[in-house]
Symmetry: C2
Subunit: 127 residues, 2 copies
């Protein structure tokens, strides 16, 4: 599995792993029942510690996206497309709330905010 991990950004490695695996699952690149690379395998491939991968996987397990089977590995859990979408929406809602409120508190108008969102979405390319 291809993950792009970097030491340059502030984002902890654990977070990078779980974020990237989550995106693959929610975007449908990994399907229900698919086997994730073993924690030792991914740690070796990505040159990180086993516990770093383990923690990342446990985080995803807590979110209900994957489940582990001792001796067999971690597997993508069964989730309907609508549940996946709902999950992504909830995450975004929670993530955006504080910064949007802060922006309003700093004097930006709703129109300002929407403009910035548009700008970012336009920069992001295709739908």
């Amino acid at each position: 599995m291809i993950l792009n991990l970097t030491d340059i950004s502030d984002e902890p490695l654990q977070s990078q792993i779980s974020r990237q695996v989550r995106a693959k699952i929610l975007a449908g690149e990994l399907g229900a029942g698919d086997n994730l690379p073993s924690i030792r395998g991914l740690a070796r491939d990505q040159r990180v510690s086993v516990i770093t991968v383990q923690r990342a996987y446990e985080y995803l397990e807590r979110e209900g996206l994957i489940h582990s089977r001792r001796g067999k590995g971690f597997f993508v859990s069964e989730l309907s497309d609508s549940a996946k979408k709902e999950m992504a929406k909830t995450r975004l809602l929670e993530t955006l709330q504080a910064p949007l409120l802060a922006a309003l508190a700093e004097g930006l108008s709703k129109a300002d905010i929407q403009q910035i969102v548009q700008l970012l979405l336009a920069q992001a390319g295709d739908n």
Copy 2:
């Protein structure tokens, strides 16, 4: 000065202080030349350590929002309204970029994302 600090949230105290003071400055509640409470005074009032306040203020100083005068205190720096607005916009842009990209990677559409922003802005009340 009234700040609402809480130990309950994940947000570090330093961050809470600098965020709330920044909002007061950018929203115009604190004007150029206004004197901020002394680090010892705010620490006493908010029952936090002096160094916690100092770090928060230093962060704002690095952003150019305030400046310190030894023996006199910290003062709000001179900033045009347009510079303030630009600052708030830049902050929001930087804050939103990663979560928006992640949401797209997770399979949300631009329309989904805009809907969530609308929802949050509607919940936030008046303009």
